[in-house]
Symmetry: C2
Subunit: 159 residues, 2 copies
């Protein structure tokens, strides 16, 4: 079962919670949320009508963006769990993407809610590697692989 | 030299010109344009202030989107050139992305115009493989690789 009250993005430090894809403080953005469902991380997102590729289908850039931001969120959630913490027990660590691979398996219909699921392949103090799927109405339409790394200290905005 | 009057996206058939990333008929979208500069394809885009990742930097989903849409545009331009046609000589063929790889080399500053450049690695009747770079103020901050394939006939919306 999904508990959307414990999305990892809700616990990013305030000064790094403005990402267009997943920052809760970006009013113009997607505000993607990532939660645990068992051993999988899950994000759900309903595209807007203008997120079109060919009419009727979701444009690839949105799919890449969802896989990217789900990846950094999942990396944060997995790091908390590795430390014995649940989401919400203190601030969540902030990751950035080092590399993103997206395989578009078939056209993604525009309309239904999209579901991104992630699994950790590899995790250490500095880096998390995840595999992901994106599905619409139960059909997987894209797969992704993300290498997420801890946000470099010099990226943190001065307060 | 860049000739922005001959962007390949301006010659997509009307019924497939609505992509959020690069469709000239999507009023809410990025309307990315791709032109030839010698043997390279080039797209230029200035992000909006809300396209932020960590404050001060461009969010990765936009970078992925620019590399994706530049890739399909470049594939169309390269296919025209392979057929002995310049951009604007008839309708441009429409490609979709089969796979996208993005390596984020360093943070991309938010503010300056971003420049995407592409080179064809492989081209045949059905498929174009490209390598791409994305730079800000002359510094390459991301690299991409796109496999673009001709749009399947069944994706074309019925008129």
């Amino acid at each position: 079962m999904s508990d959307t009250s414990s999305a990892v993005q809700d616990y990013y430090p305030e000064d790094v919670a403005h990402c267009f894809g997943c920052g809760r403080l970006n009013e113009d953005g997607h505000q993607l949320k990532t939660v645990w469902e068992g051993d999988e991380t899950v994000s759900r997102f309903r595209p807007a009508p203008h997120h079109t590729a060919i009419p009727g289908y979701v444009y690839g850039g949105l799919i890449a963006s969802l896989l990217d931001c789900h990846g950094t969120g999942a990396a944060a959630a997995a790091t908390l769990r590795r430390e014995g913490r649940e989401i919400g027990e203190g601030e969540a660590p902030r990751f950035v993407t080092a590399s993103l691979q997206v395989d578009f398996l078939k056209p993604t219909p525009l309309g239904p809610e999209l579901v991104v699921r992630g699994r950790v392949l590899e995790i250490n103090d500095r880096k998390v590697v995840l595999e992901e799927s994106l599905s619409a109405e139960g059909v997987v339409t894209a797969r992704g692989r993300v290498v997420a790394v801890r946000m470099p200290e010099q990226m943190i905005p001065s307060k």
